[in-house]
Structures are given as structure tokens and as C-alpha cells.
């Protein structure tokens, strides 16, 4: 279970205060208008932003006491997930050892992870030689080798065309079920998550305004803000 209670972040022009519970092993879609605070919430969970107050507990551990690298999570950004001068395999290998001193067992783990995300034999390529979707698959492979039980995805497939987006969501869904991961995915178009999401949270103006099963959250007439966001 991931539990954020009154997690507060203060900026000169933005004030955010989040309360959200995500059951263990669930995939939670974060939806809401641009600038509403989805990325801020993910960055606070990852440790890139320092909340001024509130609590953040995952699997019984207080995440706020941990440095970013110590938190039991992996994160994917929309872009720049890979270092351009390293090969795909090296980028995945960073998830095991940031100094890239990998033994043969670890190298085999990297190869396996690349196979699982559908990139067998492409470990020697650099990011510039891969498509946008392939680059995100490499980042997913790195998340797999890190073996952390919480996965944060910050609009990870925003730059991909609709068909590829569906394919990637299906891959994330399959991997998180196999690995029993809890996942938070911020996304622009709720329909992209399809059946994959166990729950959705609508975030606007730095608040979680609604959270629950997707069918309930997206139900027409339930909430004027959500209707406006969905263009209804």
C-alpha cells in the first residue's frame, strides 16, 4: 500500500497538498489538466521534491526519510530517460550498478530484461539508433533490473503514436502483474489506460480531487471539473 497523507509542497506560485491511497499491486492512473500537479506528486514520491509536511508511507516504510536512490521505486520520465552516449545495455546496467561494473551474471540479467521488453539483440545500440518506443522499452528494462516494488511513470508514452501507446501500456500492465509491482502512471488521455488501470486519481490545483475505480471516476456527471477536463 502507498499512502500519502497531507503531503504538502510549497512553491512561490504553487501550493500542493496530496492525500492518496493506492493498494499494493494496483495500477493507478493519474489524470488531470496540465500544470495541475501530477508530476509534482510523482517527483515528491521519488524524492526529487521535498515536502514541507505530511506523510508518505510505502509498504510500511516512511519514504520521506530516504534519499532518492534508497527509495524502493523506479521512475520513467517522458523523455531523456537514457544517457545518449551509453548503449541500451549500459543504460539498463545502470539500474544494477551506477558505476557500470557488471559481472557476467548481471550482464545476463540485463540481456534478459531487454528480451522481456521486446528488444533482444539491441543492447549494443545507442539511444539515437532506437525509435521513441524502443527507448522507453529500454527505460522499462532498467526499471525491471532494479527490482523495486513501486514504479512511477511520468507521462512515459506521451510522445508516441496511439497504437504504440496502447502497446506500451499493455507491456507495463503485463510486467507489473508478473512482478507484482504497484504502479502510478500519469497520463494525458485516460482512455489509453483502458482496462489496465485498477484505479484513477484526478489531480488539479495541487490536490487529489477524486480517486477510485476508473468507471466511477470517469462517470459522466460525477464531477464538473472532471467533465470539463474530459471536454464533456
Amino acid at each position: 500500500m502507498l499512502e500519502a497523507v497531507d503531503l504538502t509542497l510549497d512553491y512561490p506560485d504553487f501550493h500542493a497538498r496530496y492525500t492518496l491511497s493506492v493498494p499494493a499491486g494496483a495500477l493507478c492512473g493519474l489524470i488531470g489538466p496540465s500544470g495541475g500537479g501530477k508530476t509534482t506528486l510523482l517527483h515528491a514520491i521519488a524524492g526529487f521534491e521535498q515536502p514541507s509536511s505530511g506523510t508518505l508511507i510505502f509498504e510500511g516504510r516512511d519514504l520521506l526519510r530516504l534519499a532518492p536512490a534508497e527509495r524502493p521505486l523506479s521512475i520513467l520520465f517522458q523523455e531523456h530517460n537514457l544517457f545518449p552516449h551509453l548503449t541500451a545495455a549500459q543504460n539498463v546496467g545502470l539500474g544494477i550498478d551506477p558505476r557500470l561494473r557488471l559481472n557476467s551474471v548481471q550482464q545476463a540479467a540485463v540481456e534478459r530484461a531487454l528480451e522481456r521488453v521486446g528488444l533482444p539483440g539491441l543492447g549494443g545500440r545507442r539511444p539515437a539508433e532506437l525509435s521513441g518506443g524502443q527507448r522507453q522499452r529500454v527505460a522499462l528494462a532498467r526499471a525491471l533490473v532494479r527490482r523495486r516494488s513501486l514504479m512511477l511513470l511520468d507521462e512515459p508514452f506521451g510522445g508516441l503514436d496511439p497504437g504504440l501507446r496502447q502497446e506500451m501500456i499493455a507491456l507495463v500492465d503485463a510486467l507489473r502483474r508478473e512482478e507484482k509491482l504497484t504502479a502510478l502512471v500519469s497520463i494525458h488521455t485516460p482512455e489509453d489506460l483502458g482496462e489496465a488501470a485498477d484505479m484513477m486519481a484526478f489531480i488539479a490545483e495541487g490536490r487529489v480531487l477524486a480517486a477510485g475505480p476508473p468507471a466511477e471516476i470517469l462517470k459522466k456527471g460525477r464531477d464538473a471539473d472532471i467533465d470539463r477536463y474530459l471536454g464533456r
Binding site: H80, P84, R99
Partner: protein, 525 residues
């Protein structure tokens, strides 16, 4: 007609450069066998040695300084420190040399201090040590600025990833910093090498005599003191050949894809908290501070103490002459740059990309044609036709305008290209062409870069000692010449006030250029 401005600019630039080459070849050719080859070899050896060492030290210190500043985004006096670095990199050479002598010369602060403790440091400064100190004084801050800008362009996600993956400082350096430094270093090193290879005022003031002469100074001495045109021609030929072999790689190396817009400039680096990095950064910042601050302070303090000596007729005459040269030189440089850039844009729009590149190519090649070599060549070509000293002012303006051309082009080319991308088709469809297009369509985007380029070109010309000394022949007095003459006559206090005046002018022009070039494209969006 539409390409006339570009071809006219190209004709003038190539005309001057080709004439200078002809002059050099004419002078060097017939008497090559009788030349003092041993002397030439020793001058060449020293020029390469000082330029190579200056470049290596500047790049290393510049990179370390950039990393320290990137990690330490907040410390007391950071803005003053950065302002001092900026000032150091734009100070006229003659002023920096004065400041260094005032600090480290025999009668300077260090010498006085050493004598107080009963030790005479002697004249250690003059020769290779002084030249290296001065070149690193200019170029380490320049390198730091370039590296810092590139580090700031690293995507923010990479710093977050580094924190997320738990990278320690060595891994972070290897995986993020080093690739940035490696990417920038070759072109930057080539540029610094060119600047040091062709450095004139520093070598003249801190070289300490023929043992430490560089090609640039040796050409000057061959023409001005020995009237030996054959030797000057040969030295100039050597200099141009070596510079060109560096300029072409620079042109090639600097053509790389632009950076991503997602920058991590405002993010705290994960290695900033490391204790070891704190110590390293403190040492680097202290070292850079010791290199840059004392000469600037010396210029300021000694200049203020002798401020009254500015109110003399020779200072007024020198200031007037300096501006009478700098303003037309800057205007000519801008006119050439706009002519080249506008025509290149038109060629590019017509799909003639290679021709467009060829049109602006001279701007990139100019740094490889040293001013003293051009001056020597023009001198030889003009001598049978007219008295070059009688044409001193127009010749100084011409050579200074050419030397400022790369900086002017760098400022005005991007807004002209942006204007074409945004409004080119609209302007074509409405039939807005020529001067009207420049006025109605381009000028709103061009105005600030234009003013910035004008300030940079004027600053370069104001600080010029070499060309003015070459053609001046004692009849012309500019501020750098006046400073040099007063230094030569051991009128140190009077030199100090001129040095301060030049420093203030350079600072004002630099600040104006910085203000006007502050993300001009973003402002227009």
C-alpha cells in the same frame, strides 16, 4: 540584385584577405633561401609551446571551474565572482597585462611583499610564466563559461536519474560531466589555441624580449624595427598556414546538433553534498579567484589612485581616436555580417544550402587569419601605391572590422534565420523584399542582437593594440597605445588611470552586449 549585399561583403573580405596573402607571398618568396631559418624555427617553437601550454591549462582550469560553479549554485559573493570572470574574459589584453604586472611584477604587490620579508623575487614574470598567466587569465574564464552553459543544458531528467540511481561523484562525473566536457573541449581548445597563438599585446608586454617572441610579435618587429619584409612575409605565411589548419577543424567540430530545451540548470546536482567535492570545489574556486581577482583589483585600485592623470590632452586625444576607429569598425563589421547572413538566408531558402554555407564561411575563417599577418600583407601590397602610414586610420578600421566579423555574424545570423522560418513565406507572398523586409520583418527580431554585436565589435576594436601599433607609426594615439607607451616609459601611475578607463569601457560594452543578447529569440516569442 537580391544577393548583392552578400557578394559585396564577400568581395571586400576576400579582396582584403587575398591582397594580404599576395603581399605576404611577394615579400617572402624571392628571398626565402637567405632567411634566418634558425631564428624562424625558434620563434615558431616558442609560439607553439606557449599556445599549447596556455590551451591545456585554460581548458583544465576552465572545466574544473565550470564544474565547481555548477555544483556550488549558492555561496557568498558568487555573483561578484562570476562578474569578475566575465570581466577577465573581455578585458583588453593590454589592460590585463598591466594588472598582472601590477600584481606579480618586480615592483608589484608580490614583489613588494617578498622584499618586506627580505626576499627579492627578481624578474621571474617576464617570458613564458607571464605569458601563460595572462593567457590563462583570459581563457580559463572563457572556457568555464562555455562548459557551464553546456552543463546547464543537460536535461533535468539526467540529474534526477543520477539521484534516483544513487550515482556517486565519480560515476556522475564519468557518465554526465565528462561527455559534456569531451564534446565541447576540442572546438574550444582549438579556439583558445588560435587566440593564444596569435596573441600580441600580452607577448609584447610580458614576453620580455626576443627569447620569448611569438610569430605575431616577430612579424611586427620585422616590419616596424628591422624593415625586413621577407622575414615578415615568411613568418606571416607560417602563421596563416598553422592557423588555417586549426580553423578548419574548428568549423567542422562546432557543427553539432543543438541541445535539448529541457535543461537541468536550476536543479541541485546530487554530487553537491559530497564532502570531497566540497574540498575540490573550494580549492578550484580559490585558485581561480587568486588568478583573476588580484589583477582586476590592481587595475581598479591603482587606476582610482591616479584618476587625476586622465584629465590630460593626450588621454582625450587617444580616447577620441579610439572611438573614431571603434565606431566605424563596428559599423562596417555589422554591415558585412548582415550582408553575408541575409544573402546566405536567401540562398538557403532557395535550396542552395552549400552556397549559403560558403557565403558565411569567411566569418568562420577570419580567426585563422591573424591581424598582424593581414596588416603586414596589406602593408607590402600598398607600399608601392601609397604610404600605408598615411592610410593608417582606414586600414586600422578595415582590419578591426574583419577581426570582429565572426562575433558579429554569430549574433545576427540566428535571428535572421528565425525571421525567415517564421515570416519568410508571408513576406514572400506579400512581396516584402530588400530593405523593406529588413525594416518591417527582420528588424524587430534583429534589433537587440544588432546592438549586442555592435557593442562586442566596438569593444574588440577599442582594445586593439597590435593593428594600431603596426600602422600607427607614432602618428596615431589610441588608448591601448597610450597605455603601452606610458608603461614603456615607466609612468606606472599614469598608465593605471588609462588601464582603468579601458577596463570601464570594456565592462560597459560587455554589459550592454550581454543585456542585448539575453535570449533575444525568447523575448520575441
Amino acid at each position: 540584385m537580391k544577393l548583392l549585399p552578400g557578394f559585396a561583403a564577400l568581395a571586400l573580405i576576400l579582396g582584403v584577405v587575398v591582397a594580404a596573402f599576395m603581399g605576404i607571398l611577394l615579400a617572402a618568396g624571392p628571398q626565402a633561401a637567405a632567411l634566418p631559418w634558425g631564428y624562424v624555427a625558434s620563434v615558431l617553437r616558442f609560439t607553439l609551446l606557449q599556445a599549447g601550454l596556455s590551451t591545456a591549462i585554460s581548458i583544465l582550469l576552465g572545466a574544473a571551474l565550470a564544474l565547481a560553479l555548477a555544483r556550488r549554485t549558492r555561496f557568498a559573493g558568487r555573483s561578484v565572482f562570476i562578474a569578475a570572470l566575465n570581466l577577465a574574459s573581455v578585458l583588453p589584453q593590454v589592460v590585463a597585462a598591466f594588472g598582472i604586472i601590477a600584481v606579480a611584477g618586480r615592483a608589484g604587490w608580490l614583489g613588494e611583499g617578498a622584499r618586506f620579508f627580505g626576499f627579492d623575487p627578481g624578474v621571474w614574470l617576464y617570458g613564458l610564466p607571464g605569458i601563460l598567466i595572462a593567457h590563462v587569465f583570459f581563457n580559463a574564464p572563457l572556457a568555464a563559461r562555455v562548459f557551464l552553459a553546456s552543463l546547464a543544458a543537460v536535461p533535468g531528467e539526467h540529474w534526477r536519474l543520477a539521484a534516483h540511481l544513487g550515482m556517486r561523484p565519480p560515476a556522475l562525473f564519468r557518465l554526465i560531466d565528462l561527455p559534456v566536457i569531451r564534446r565541447e573541449a576540442p572546438a574550444l581548445a582549438a579556439l583558445i589555441f588560435l587566440l593564444c597563438f596569435t596573441s600580441f599585446a600580452v607577448v609584447l608586454m610580458l614576453g620580455g624580449g626576443p627569447v620569448a617572441a611569438t610569430l605575431e610579435v616577430a612579424i611586427y618587429e620585422a616590419v616596424r624595427f628591422d624593415v625586413d619584409f621577407a622575414r615578415a612575409g615568411l613568418l606571416a605565411l607560417l602563421q596563416v598556414a598553422i592557423c588555417l589548419s586549426f580553423a578548419l577543424p574548428v568549423l567542422w567540430l562546432t557543427r553539432r546538433p543543438g541541445e535539448s530545451a529541457a535543461t537541468g540548470a536550476d536543479l541541485a546536482r546530487p554530487d553537491a553534498e559530497s564532502g570531497a567535492m566540497r574540498v575540490v570545489d573550494a580549492v578550484v574556486l580559490a585558485l581561480a579567484g587568486l588568478l583573476v581577482m588580484p589583477p582586476l583589483l590592481a587595475v581598479g585600485l591603482s587606476g582610482l589612485a591616479a584618476f587625476h592623470s586622465l584629465f590630460r590632452a593626450d588621454v582625450a586625444e587617444a580616447a577620441l581616436t579610439s572611438f573614431a576607429i571603434a565606431i566605424p569598425a563596428a559599423a562596417l563589421s555589422l554591415a558585412l555580417a548582415i550582408g553575408l547572413a541575409a544573402s546566405a538566408r536567401r540562398l538557403a531558402a532557395a535550396g542552395r544550402v552549400a552556397s549559403a554555407s560558403a557565403m558565411t564561411m569567411p566569418g568562420g575563417l577570419i580567426p585563422a587569419v591573424p591581424p598582424i599577418a593581414v596588416s603586414a600583407g596589406l602593408f607590402v601590397v600598398l607600399r608601392p601605391l601609397a604610404d600605408p602610414f598615411g592610410l593608417a586610420i582606414p586600414l586600422i578600421i578595415l582590419v578591426n572590422a574583419l577581426m570582429a566579423l565572426p562575433f558579429a555574424l554569430r549574433q545576427v545570423e540566428p535571428p535572421l534565420i528565425l525571421s525567415a522560418e517564421r515570416y519568410g513565406r508571408l513576406a514572400e507572398s506579400l512581396g516584402i523584399t530588400g530593405v523593406w523586409r529588413l525594416k518591417l520583418v527582420d528588424w524587430p527580431l534583429l534589433r537587440r542582437p544588432f546592438l549586442a554585436a555592435l557593442a562586442v565589435a566596438a569593444a574588440l576594436s577599442l582594445g586593439d593594440l597590435g593593428v594600431a601599433a603596426f600602422f600607427g607609426s607614432g602618428n596615431i594615439l589610441t588608448l591601448p597605445l597610450l597605455l603601452y607607451q606610458r608603461m614603456g616609459a615607466y609612468r606606472v601611475a599614469e598608465s593605471a588611470s588609462v588601464a582603468l578607463l579601458l577596463a570601464i569601457l570594456a565592462l560597459m560594452l560587455f554589459l550592454a552586449a550581454q543585456r542585448w543578447s539575453e535570449d533575444p529569440l525568447a523575448r520575441s516569442r
